[in-house]
Symmetry: C2
Subunit: 306 residues, 2 copies
Amino acid sequence: MSEHSLITRYFVPLAENFAGSLFLSDDAAILDVPAGQQLIITKDSMSEGVHFIGNEAPALIAKKLLRTNLSDLAAMGATPYCYFLSLALPAPLDESYIQAFASGLADDQKTFSIQLAGGDTITSKGTATFSITAHGLVPQGKALRRNDAKVGDIIYVSGTLGDSALGLQQLKTGGTDAYLINRYQLPQPRVSLGESLRDIATSCIDISDGLLADMNHICKASNVGADIHQTHLPLSAAAHKQLEKDAANWAFIYAGGDDYELLFTLPDGIKPPPHCTAIGRITQGHRVRLLDDETEITPERLGYSH
Amino acid sequence: MSEHSLITRYFVPLAENFAGSLFLSDDAAILDVPAGQQLIITKDSMSEGVHFIGNEAPALIAKKLLRTNLSDLAAMGATPYCYFLSLALPAPLDESYIQAFASGLADDQKTFSIQLAGGDTITSKGTATFSITAHGLVPQGKALRRNDAKVGDIIYVSGTLGDSALGLQQLKTGGTDAYLINRYQLPQPRVSLGESLRDIATSCIDISDGLLADMNHICKASNVGADIHQTHLPLSAAAHKQLEKDAANWAFIYAGGDDYELLFTLPDGIKPPPHCTAIGRITQGHRVRLLDDETEITPERLGYSH
């Protein structure tokens, strides 16, 4: 099947409700940006054998790719607008793979109100590599940044921590905890939360490197420190179970990464949105400290470096 | 060397003059679109062993990747604005490769007045795959399309045809024509020409699939036909030489592809920009015909399918 036929059959349906895609018929897309809005743009890629195992359902891989990009938009407070997709797949192109991949995207386009606007499909001599460039909109000057956390601000995190890293551990060790595995395979980008933080948060980031590493990113950009209380960290029942089995699993909670939860700061006294947990406070200095009661237990290794 | 260090050393310098890149420090870039302008966005990828041989200088590969994207912007009449880069490279990351790649981009950023705004660098288990998403600006409603060519319009092409395909043939057969090889390795996106066509062209495309195949794209979109005169096709001295050696090389001229010249139509009587050659006329019907004098010599195969 030719690239042209594949595009017509599987990708034009993902783009046909977005006028600027020109039905994928031209050399590029045309994008209008409403007056008073700015575009927020992120580009995240995934490579077979590195970012996914390779035996996952193609629809799951597609969703994870789109969702990690959406999580970056959420971290900046942006509303999803459109995305561009590049697929590099071993030749010959496998139509059933592309069909399943596209069906995953179609599901998530509905869930997150975003449309395909362009891209390309190429063959590779090696493994598969996928890339998305996602575009979001934010009112002028309202994008969330990392650089304005102030001493005394309260540190919050959405959802629960460590599930994704524990889920990957399940897959690697033959574990069967479906909740944790799902949290690894299908992150939940906190798009609505990001939007609701536009007018109140002094900093925001999505947790991809791990809680402490990403807290460190905020602290460096804002020129502050942070005290985080281990006993306040929000945990799922499934994560609790893993910690009961082995306390060493705490490393997955604060340094596992790929949580795709939002980590953000609010001035003291501002009411946080629902499903967010206060986990500490911004301090003077430059250090991120993890505390058990008042004792520092900060590990050497703050997070994974990708 | 960590991804973070690589980014700081080689990619931040490419982005530091573009405020919206946030010095590559955040989760995404912030893009302003001036009032009355639209964004033109394209995403083109290249895979080792398929789109480049693999032994080219990394700077050349980088330039070709950026330039093929710029050619898509030119085909829509857009002025280059910024781009996002994704590199998937075999682990461990080779710093000297990235350094050379970035230096090629730095050169072309100056040549084409475009800036890096974001992206990512990942490791792959296989071959290298590179992807760029390029953004251009065009005044509202002025983007060039493929769908408005009218019967009687004159068909023009910029530069000369077939050099790139003949250059690839040189590389494959041990040839040494430096001009042709350079035309293959380093396309010249016709950015200024595209801008100058905004108010006059009825259709425009960049030749990537081959003259006849891309003419066919215009004809299908515009619901017209085209007569192209072989004797009018603009040829370089180097291409002439290859045709004298073997008349079968004509296939490289009209079907070779990767020319990255602009193919466009103007109403009869409109003066074309410099360095463009009239090669035929838009006709009724739906067929693209290649004519030698008045005899049709259209080959079966119109162009390469990627």
